[in-house]
């Protein structure tokens, strides 16, 4: 992406998180999400915490503007729970965060762990009432007989305080592990998906939900696939898609029937028989599905590639990008060390011209759809001087390794970028390594 003619040059902006290499498991970032304006950036971690960063926007019009995100709010969203009936511990890890469109001064987001979704209200308080004459200094109520007049308290400024309060708790609707939540464009409903079912909720109602997809077979012996991700269409409130572990995507129309087990469209690409291996089923499992902002395309991520699908063409994707094809010959090792089960996410830029996804060795990849170019960049502390331009990286798959290339065997598979997010309007990206959040921006920005 580097080069003249308006191409993007990515620069380091900020890094959040602990510096030391000894990573506390609770600090492992498990989800990253910009809100609809890009002013807020939320992260969830394995310890059940949500940290929200806010962008400084005062100097946005200056040429040397460096968007800086600072901590806005931190709160404990989920706690570990224990299901005594089933003798099971329920992890507090935040699987997904989704922002609601802003309607008033407060911000709302949905956060979910394996079993429970919560609606959080994040509101600012920068004034406080002062001048009560009904209470003593220490807060005790005065004897009413001593009060001779009524004084209306006055709001006086105070230091900004950001409060997060749980407004709704949507619990006990999922037997299996929740993998996705998605807010509908109608701004009233949202869906939550687990391995076998998808439920539709009203944001106001917590004691009931509608089951709209159920792929659990009557006999579990016949189970061959699970739901891996689901998302509502960005504009059509009746349409959603869900992906499966078999590499298929089903588009459903809620107007067709109450239970959307029969898809309206089935997107599937036939497997290339020459690539058949012991691990074919694993690498074809889709780990993420995202609609484009314009609603015409959707993107899927499986273990080795990113595919762009036209919603009007079901039999094959319109574009396929190889993320790290050099891993195909290493699948056995990746199976042994469990890396083959890593679930990478993917994201679109604001105008749907570029897509991004993560890889290993703290590499992440961008594919420019229009210019048919791709680049590999690295999120590392070594390249973290302010506004330092990121140098494209290259992996040597075999043969003679050139200078500055890194060989496949030198890749660090413990350093993986699973979660990335792109600002909805600007060229600012958030990339999560294991426990650090990197923010990069386009130099021109």
């Amino acid at each position: 992406m580097a080069g003249p003619g308006g191409d993007m040059q990515w620069c380091f902006s900020q890094v959040k998180g602990a510096i030391d290499d000894d990573v506390a498991e609770a600090d492992i970032i498990s989800t990253v999400e910009f809100n609809h304006t890009g002013e807020l950036l939320a992260t969830g971690d394995k310890g059940g915490r949500v940290v929200i960063f806010q962008q400084e926007i005062e100097n946005k019009n200056l040429p040397q503007f460096r968007s800086e995100y600072n901590v806005y709010s931190t709160f404990q969203s989920h706690e570990p729970e224990f299901d005594y009936l089933k003798s099971l511990e329920i992890e507090e890890k935040i699987n997904k965060i989704r922002w609601l469109p802003q309607k008033n001064a407060a911000q709302f987001l949905l956060s979910t762990n394996d079993k429970t979704i919560k609606l959080w209200k994040i509101s600012e308080r920068d004034k406080r009432p002062d001048g009560y004459n009904l209470k003593e200094e220490d807060g005790r109520y005065k004897d009413p007989n001593t009060i001779t007049s009524l004084r209306v308290p006055v709001l006086i400024p105070m230091d900004l305080m950001v409060e997060a309060s749980p407004r709704r708790v949507f619990a006990n609707a999922h037997t299996y592990h929740i993998n996705s939540i998605s807010v509908n464009s109608d701004e009233e409903t949202y869906l939550s998906a687990d391995d076998l079912r998808i439920n539709l909720w009203n944001l106001e109602i917590t004691d009931r939900s509608f089951n709209i997809v159920d792929i659990k077979p009557a006999n579990m012996e016949e189970l061959t696939e699970v739901i891996t991700a689901a998302e509502f269409h960005p504009h059509q409130c009746n349409t959603f898609v869900y992906s499966s572990s078999k590499g298929t995507i089903r588009l459903c129309d809620m107007r067709a029937s109450a239970l959307c087990d029969k898809q309206s469209k089935l997107f599937e690409e036939p497997e290339d028989p020459s690539n058949r291996s012991f691990f074919s089923e694993i690498i074809s499992s889709i780990s993420d599905v995202k609609f484009s902002h314009n609603g015409r395309y959707m993107m899927t991520r499986d273990y080795l590639s990113v595919k762009i699908w036209d919603l009007n063409m079901e039999n094959r994707p319109v574009e396929t990008y190889q993320v790290h094809e050099y891993l195909r010959s290493k699948l056995c090792s990746l199976y042994e060390n469990d890396c083959i089960f890593d679930k990478f996410e993917c994201c679109w830029n604001g105008n749907d011209s570029v897509v991004m996804t993560g890889s290993y060795n703290n590499f992440f990849r961008m594919f420019d759809r229009g210019q048919r170019r791709d680049v590999t960049l690295e999120a590392s502390r070594e390249n973290s001087k302010p506004m330092q331009v990121l140098k494209p990286r290259k992996v040597c798959a075999g043969g003679k390794r050139k200078k500055d290339e890194i060989s496949v065997d030198s890749l660090d598979f413990n350093k993986k970028i699973l979660h990335t997010a792109w600002h909805p309007q600007d060229n600012i990206i958030a990339v999560a390594t294991t426990n650090n959040l990197y923010i990069f921006q386009d130099k021109v920005n």
Partner: protein
């Protein structure tokens, strides 16, 4: 990234993943285990078809197509039963009809599909028939070894995994025959297999004390010492049975974990693990997993 890439190794790795998933925080992950069973199925299909074609090259009495066709009995859905049951045990104990602390009960096996393992029987001399104590080996009694059809895995074949030495063995109707080397031997496994079959028929003689879930408990067995294990890690004899882990049962799943006596209370306390009590009678059993 070096890895000993062979089907047997994949089978043992997969089974260990399934086993370790039972104790993972957050409960069993259905998606991951589903994918692991796909690998298990693929590896087992490859492994069995490889061994069968090896057998056919040696004996030439089977129709390859028939073999391949009948290998289709290794269907993934059947193998998921135990995982599903166990998952049910964890999540929907009310819903699952087969909930039994995670164990899937063997279905009754249709008599017409019970075939003796041709290769095993083929290696037996007629005099060895006297040593066939297993009453389930009826087709051996009826037919000469050379006429036996190919094995139907659903009927009576178990793949046995020793978690300590990673030795994989196929158990058929009370007969077990070592068909593996230590993982380091990799592709020589097929050759070792053929070689052992011809040289050492003791592998194929059923040990009356050998425990098979279908055939009742086994008395105390001698524990092999580590020295013994390491010295002939690529050979299995009856004394090694105590360390064997029955991995792939025939037909449906019947997963269980057997631990040493001291761990019994812990096991009974853990509702997700179903212990076949018959296994515990033999102090020789160390670790046993019968996955599917």
């Amino acid at each position: 990234m070096e890895c000993a890439f062979d089907a047997q190794n994949l089978i043992s790795i997969s089974l260990m993943k399934i086993q370790s998933s039972r104790t993972q925080r957050g409960g069993i992950k259905l998606h991951k285990n589903l994918l692991v069973t796909y690998v298990l199925r693929n590896a087992r299909q490859f492994y069995v078809s490889k061994n069968l074609s090896q057998t056919q090259r040696t004996h030439q009495y089977e129709d390859v197509a028939a073999v391949r066709e009948r290998q289709d009995y290794f269907e993934l859905p059947g193998s998921l039963t135990e995982l599903a049951d166990d998952f049910y045990c964890n999540f929907t104990g009310v819903e699952s009809d087969t909930w039994h602390c995670g164990a899937h009960q063997h279905n009754g096996q249709p008599a017409e599909v019970a075939h003796q393992d041709a290769s095993a029987c083929a290696m037996l001399s007629p005099s060895d028939a006297d040593l066939m104590v297993s009453e389930a080996c009826w087709s051996c009694a009826d037919k000469s070894p050379w006429e036996l059809p190919i094995p139907n895995a659903q009927a009576n074949q178990k793949t046995v995994l020793d978690l300590d030495t990673h030795v994989v063995t196929t158990v058929t109707n009370g007969y077990f025959h070592s068909d593996c080397c230590a993982p380091s031997k990799q592709l020589q496994g097929a050759q070792c297999y053929a070689k052992k079959r011809k040289v050492d028929t003791s592998y194929h003689i059923v040990d009356p004390e050998f425990y098979l879930p279908d055939f009742g408990p086994v008395p105390c067995k001698r524990m092999r010492t580590d020295d013994e294990l390491h010295s002939d890690s690529d050979q299995l004899d009856s004394t090694n049975i105590s360390n064997l882990i029955s991995v792939l049962g025939s037909g449906g799943l019947s997963e269980f974990v057997s631990w040493q006596q001291t761990d019994l209370e812990q096991i009974f306390a853990a509702q997700t693990i179903c212990l076949k009590h018959t296994l515990l009678t033999g102090s020789g059993w160390t670790r046993a997993i019968e996955a599917f």
